[in-house]
C-alpha cells in the first residue's frame, strides 16, 4: 500500500471566482420575468372567479419570484459551489455514515417505472412496487435477524417512535401498564424525544469507564414498570456493548423489551444481528447504512423490524407476498395503524434494495469489516494528537478528544473541526456524545481509501502544529470557506427566518 498516492477524499478545489454572497431568488426577481412553460391543453379557460366563489379568493397576489430560467440556473448552480458534499470530499461526520452513495441507485430511483407511479393506484396496477417492498422487508429481516418489518417510517426518529408505539401496544395487549423506558446517557437526542412522544418517561442509565452501559446501574434501574430499553450497538461512542447478552437477559427478566437503534448498523452487517443479540424491535437508517444520499438533511427511511411476538402490531397496510406469487396490501390484525401518509419513502426503499442486491450478503459483510477497519486505523493513526476517549478497538467510528490541545493551547475541538474545513475535509461530529469532553467523533466509512485517511491525519497534524504556533488564528478558522465563522448567537437572538422578516 502506498500512502504516497494522492488522496482521493480531499476537496482540494480552490476558489473558483468572486467573493460576494449569492443574492436571494427574491433579490434577483424582476416584475414580469418568468421561466415556466406549460403544456398546451385546449381546456376551456374560464376565469377563476367564475369557478370559485369570491369569498374564497385571495384579493392579493402572493409573490413567489420572477426570474428567467437562465437566472434560476445561475442562482442554484452558484449555490452548489458554496456547498460541501460527499462527492466533493471526505465527510467523516460521526454517527452519520457519510459513505459514497452509488449513482446507480440514483438512476434506479429516477426510473419513471418507479417514480411516476401514483401511491393510490390499485395493487393490481402496481405489482412491481409491491414486490420491491415485500422483497426489501424480507432482506432487512435477514440482515437484522427479525421476523417482519414495516417500511413506513420516513426516518430513524420516526422509526423510534413507531417502535415505542409497538412496545406500548405489546404491553397493553398483555394488560400491563409500564411507565419508563431506559436509555443510556450517551444516547442520541432522538431517543429521549421519541420516548416522550411514545408516552413514556425517560430513565437514564449511566455509562461506565469503559464507555459501555453500566450493567449494575442498569439492574438497579430495572423494575416491573420498565417498558423497555433503547440501545444502539455499537453505541454512540463507537464501542460494542460487550455485555449485551446480560443486558438483554436483565431487561427481559423484568418483562421489558429491547429496542435497537439501527443508526450504527453499518458496523455489524454480517457480523452480528440485533435479533441474535436479543433485541425485540429494530429500526434501520437506510440513508446511513443502505446508501441514500442525505440530501442536505433528508430524505431518509427508517424501517422497523420486530420479533415474532410483535408482528401482529406492525403498522399497515403492508405489501405482502401471496401464495400465488402475486402481492397484496395487508394490515396486521392488531396493527397500531398508519405511521406515514402513504407507504413510506418508497424511492428511498427502492434504492436500498438495489444497494443490497449489488452487494449481496458477502458484500454487506465486507462493508462492515472495512468500515470498522478504517475507523480503527484512523483512531490508531491519530492517537498522539487526538487520543480516543476509550483506547481500544472501536467499531465503525471513533470518539477522539481534543482535551490535550485545549489544555495546552486553548484550542477547542470546535476550532479543530473548523480548521479541517480549510483543509478541504468536512468536520467530524463535535461535542457528541455529550458525555465525552471535547469529543470529536470520526466515522470514515468503508468507501474512503487509506490514502484519504492518511491525508486527513496529516491535515490534523498540521492543525496541531498551528495550535502551537498560532492558536489565535485557529480560533477564527475557517478562513478559506465561502463564509468565515458564522455568528450563530445573533441568528438566535433575532430570528430572521424569511426574506420578509423585519431586519
Amino acid at each position: 500500500m502506498s500512502t504516497l498516492a494522492a488522496p482521493g477524499g480531499r476537496a482540494a478545489s480552490a476558489p473558483l471566482t468572486g467573493h460576494e454572497t449569492e443574492p436571494t431568488l427574491f433579490e434577483m426577481s424582476v416584475p414580469g420575468r418568468s421561466a415556466h412553460q406549460l403544456r398546451t391543453t385546449g381546456v376551456p379557460a374560464g376565469s377563476l372567479d367564475e369557478l370559485v366563489p369570491a369569498e374564497h379568493l385571495n384579493p392579493d397576489v402572493v409573490p413567489i419570484a420572477e426570474v428567467s430560467e437562465r437566472d434560476l440556473v445561475g442562482h442554484f448552480t452558484r449555490l452548489t459551489h458554496r456547498q460541501f458534499s460527499v462527492d466533493l470530499g471526505m465527510y467523516p461526520l460521526g454517527s452519520c455514515t457519510m459513505k459514497y452513495n452509488p449513482k446507480f441507485c440514483d438512476a434506479v430511483a429516477a426510473d419513471p417505472g418507479l417514480s411516476a407511479v401514483h401511491p393510490g393506484a390499485p395493487a393490481s396496477l402496481t405489482q412491481g412496487w409491491l414486490e420491491i417492498l415485500a422483497t426489501l422487508e424480507e432482506k432487512l429481516c435477514l440482515i437484522t435477524g427479525m421476523a417482519a418489518a414495516t417500511l413506513q417510517p420516513a426516518a430513524g426518529a420516526a422509526g423510534e417512535l413507531t417502535g415505542l408505539l409497538l412496545m406500548r401496544a405489546f404491553h397493553e395487549a398483555n394488560g400491563d401498564e409500564r411507565r419508563r423506558v431506559i436509555i443510556p446517557d450517551s444516547a442520541h437526542g432522538t431517543n429521549p424525544a421519541s420516548v416522550t412522544l411514545g408516552g413514556y418517561e425517560v430513565a437514564t442509565v449511566s455509562t461506565n469507564e469503559r464507555g459501555l452501559v453500566d450493567l449494575d446501574a442498569l439492574k438497579a434501574t430495572l423494575g416491573p414498570d420498565v417498558a423497555g430499553i433503547m440501545l444502539t450497538n455499537p453505541n454512540t461512542v463507537g464501542l460494542f456493548e460487550e455485555e449485551i447478552i446480560e443486558i438483554a437477559r436483565a431487561v427481559h427478566d423484568v418483562g421489558g423489551l429491547l429496542y435497537y437503534d439501527g443508526a450504527n448498523l453499518n458496523a455489524i452487517l454480517g457480523a452480528v444481528r440485533p435479533g441474535d443479540m436479543g433485541f425485540d424491535i429494530v429500526h434501520m437508517n437506510l440513508h446511513k447504512t443502505f446508501a441514500t444520499p442525505h440530501g442536505g438533511g433528508g430524505p431518509g427511511a427508517g424501517p422497523v423490524a420486530v420479533a415474532a411476538r410483535l408482528v401482529e402490531f406492525l403498522p399497515g397496510p403492508k405489501a405482502t407476498r401471496q401464495g400465488d406469487g402475486s402481492f397484496a396490501w395487508r394490515t396486521p390484525e392488531r396493527s397500531i395503524g398508519r405511521v406515514h401518509g402513504w407507504h413510506g419513502n418508497a424511492l428511498v426503499l427502492a434504492r436500498a434494495l438495489a444497494y443490497i442486491d449489488v452487494h449481496g450478503g458477502d458484500g454487506l459483510t465486507r462493508v462492515a469489516q472495512h468500515a470498522v477497519l478504517n475507523a480503527n486505523w484512523l483512531r490508531h493513526r491519530l492517537r498522539e494528537i487526538l487520543p480516543a476517549a476509550y483506547d481500544r478497538v472501536c467499531m465503525h467510528e471513533c470518539t477522539l478528544q481534543a482535551t490535550g490541545l485545549k489544555s495546552k493551547y486553548g484550542v477547542r475541538g470546535l476550532d479543530v473541526a473548523k480548521a479541517l474545513l480549510d483543509e478541504g475535509f468536512h468536520a467530524p461530529t463535535v461535542y457528541f456524545p455529550l458525555i465525552v469532553d471535547e469529543a470529536l467523533m470520526f466515522e470514515p466509512t468503508e468507501t474512503e481509501s487509506v490514502q484519504t485517511l492518511e491525508a486527513l491525519a496529516q491535515a490534523i497534524e498540521r492543525i496541531a502544529e498551528h495550535a502551537q504556533s498560532d492558536p489565535e488564528s485557529l480560533r477564527h478558522a475557517p478562513h478559506h470557506t465561502p463564509v468565515s465563522r458564522v455568528d450563530e448567537a445573533r441568528a438566535a437572538r433575532r430570528l430572521i427566518a424569511t426574506a420578509d422578516a423585519a431586519r
Binding site: 415556466h36 397576489v61 402572493v62 419570484a65 458554496r82 390499485p122 426516518a155 444520499p293 430524505p299 401518509g341
Partner: protein
C-alpha cells in the same frame, strides 16, 4: 461479487498490520461469540449493477399505473404536475444531494440559503410568518401541529374535520396512542364539516381541510369562530397549489398551516419521499418542530445563513424537545424552492387556475352521464367526489383498460365507512385534474367512463 470498497487485499493487510492484527475478523473478536453470526448473511451473493438493473426492469414493467402509461386523474394529496428538466437538473446537483444536515454553516451556505428561500416561499403561501425547513410528509405535519397545539394549550382534545385526508387522520390516531391525544372527528355533511355535531369544548386544536380532501371549498369562518371560542389553535390542512390563489391560512385566521409539498417539483414517487409543509404564527415559533434556518452574518460581516433556535431540538432539548424529528426532507424542500422559482408568481397562479379549469370542465362532462352523481353540491377547486352506479374500485380497474387512472376510491382510502361521507363509501370516486391534462385526455376520460358504465 460487487461493491464500492477501495481497499485492495494489500491495503487491508498493511492496515491490519498497522493495528497489530492478522485478520479482519480480529476487529470483531470482542463481540461475544455466542451472538456472532457464523456463516454470514443468508442473502444471495452480490451481482453487478447491470444485473440488478435487469431485476428492476421486471419490477418497473409490472407497474402499469405509471403516469407515462396511464393518464393520471388520481389526486388525494399526490398530483401529476409538470416537473421540467431544468428543475430536475438543478435539484439533482450532487452538492445538494450528497450533503448532510448543514451542521457546518461555513461550507453549507448552498443548502442553507436554498432552505431559507424555501421557508420564505412557504410562509408567503400560508400567509403566516414562520416556516420550518420541512417535515416528512403532510400527515407528519398534521401530527406535529397537534403536538404544537397541545404544547400551546396543555389540552388533549383534537377536533379534526373528516375533510382531512383519511390517511392523515389515521396517522394522527396512531400517534395519539403515545401522546394520549383525544381525537374527535367531525363528520362532513354534504361535503362540509358539521362542526355543530361534535363537542369541541376544551379543544386544543380545530383542524380543517382547505380545500378538503373531497375538493370542497369550505367556509372556514365557523371553524375560526370555534377555535377562538375555545382558545384552540386553528390548523389548516391546505392544498399548497390552491393556496396560491385562495384566501391564505393567515387570512382565515389560522395559527398553523400544514400541507403536502409533493406538488412542488417532486414526482409521484409511489408516495415518498414527499414534503411535509409546516408554517405557523410568530407566537408558536418556540414550539416549532424541526429545523429552521435563520439569516445572520459571518465574522467578516457578510450575510450568512445558519440553522437556528436549536434549543428546541432533540439533540439539545432531548426528552423535552418540541419534536423528535432529525433527518427531514430537505432535498424536497430545495426542490420546491427550485420548482417555485421556475413557476414564478404567474406560473404558480397559472397552474392553480388550470387545475380548477380542468376539474370543472371534466365535472361538467361527467355530471351529464347517467348513474353518475356529484357526491355533494358544494363549490370545489381541483378535485371532486362522484357517486358511481357501481363500486369505484371496479371502475378504476376497468378504466385502466382505457389507459386512464380514473381517480381514487374512497373505500380504499377510508374503508367501508368514513365520516367524510354519508352512507357507504363503496361507490365514491375522487377525481382530480392537473394543469398537465389536455382537453383530449379529459374527453377521452369521459368517453371511457361512458363505455365502462354501459
Amino acid at each position: 461479487m460487487a461493491d464500492y470498497l477501495p481497499h485492495t487485499p494489500e491495503d487491508v493487510a498493511s492496515m491490519l498490520e498497522f493495528l497489530g492484527m492478522d485478520r479482519l475478523e480480529d476487529l470483531f473478536a470482542h463481540i461475544p461469540a455466542a451472538v456472532r453470526l457464523s456463516g454470514g448473511l443468508a442473502i444471495e451473493p452480490g451481482v453487478s449493477e447491470p444485473d440488478v438493473a435487469a431485476i428492476f426492469a421486471t419490477y418497473t414493467s409490472a407497474n402499469p399505473a405509471r403516469a407515462n402509461n396511464l393518464t393520471c386523474f388520481a389526486g388525494g394529496g399526490a398530483y401529476d404536475h409538470e416537473v421540467p428538466a431544468v428543475v430536475r437538473a438543478l435539484a439533482g446537483r450532487s452538492e445538494f444531494v450528497t450533503a448532510y444536515t448543514p451542521y457546518q454553516p461555513e461550507v453549507a451556505q448552498g443548502v442553507l440559503q436554498a432552505i431559507f428561500e424555501y421557508q420564505t416561499l412557504i410562509a408567503r403561501l400560508s400567509g403566516l410568518p414562520i416556516s420550518n425547513a420541512s417535515l416528512y410528509d403532510a400527515a407528519t405535519s398534521l401530527v406535529e401541529a397537534l403536538n404544537m397545539a397541545h404544547g400551546a394549550t396543555q389540552r388533549q382534545k383534537m377536533v379534526i374535520s373528516a375533510g382531512i385526508h383519511p390517511h392523515w387522520r389515521q396517522v394522527a390516531r396512531t400517534f395519539a396512542h403515545g401522546t394520549g391525544h383525544d381525537i374527535v372527528e367531525v363528520p362532513l355533511k354534504n361535503g362540509v364539516s358539521d362542526w355543530a355535531s361534535v363537542d369541541a369544548s376544551g379543544a386544543a386544536a380545530i383542524v380543517a381541510g382547505y380545500p378538503n380532501y373531497l375538493g370542497v371549498l369550505e367556509d372556514l369562518s365557523e371553524a375560526k369562530a370555534l377555535a377562538t371560542r375555545e382558545g384552540a389553535l386553528l390548523v389548516l390542512g391546505a392544498d399548497p397549489v390552491a393556496a396560491s390563489v385562495l384566501k391564505t391560512a393567515g387570512q382565515w385566521g389560522a395559527d398553523v398551516f400544514v400541507g403536502e409539498g409533493q406538488v412542488f417539483g417532486t414526482a409521484l414517487s409511489f408516495g415518498g419521499p414527499y414534503l411535509g409543509l409546516f408554517a405557523c404564527s410568530e407566537d408558536q415559533v418556540r414550539r416549532l418542530p424541526g429545523r429552521i434556518v435563520g439569516e445572520t452574518v459571518d465574522s467578516n460581516d457578510r450575510r450568512a445563513f445558519v440553522t437556528t433556535l436549536r434549543a428546541r431540538e432533540q439533540d439539545i432539548r432531548r426528552e423535552k424537545a418540541t419534536s423528535n424529528v432529525c433527518t427531514n426532507q430537505t432535498l424536497m424542500a430545495v426542490t420546491a424552492a427550485v420548482q417555485l422559482g421556475w413557476l414564478g408568481t404567474r406560473g404558480l397562479r397559472e397552474v392553480a387556475t388550470r387545475c380548477a379549469q380542468g376539474a370543472h370542465y371534466l365535472f361538467e362532462q361527467l355530471s351529464g352521464l347517467d348513474g353518475v352523481h356529484a357526491a355533494n353540491d358544494q363549490p370545489f377547486f381541483r378535485e371532486f367526489a362522484l357517486r358511481l352506479p357501481s363500486a369505484a374500485t371496479g371502475v378504476i380497474e376497468a378504466m385502466a383498460e382505457h389507459g386512464v387512472l380514473a381517480g381514487l376510491a374512497l373505500s380504499a382510502l377510508g374503508g367501508a365507512r368514513d365520516p367524510s361521507i354519508e352512507g357507504s363509501t363503496e361507490d365514491v370516486l375522487i377525481v382530480s385534474v392537473t394543469e398537465r391534462r389536455t382537453k383530449e385526455e379529459i374527453d377521452h376520460y369521459v368517453r371511457s367512463l361512458k363505455e365502462v358504465l354501459a
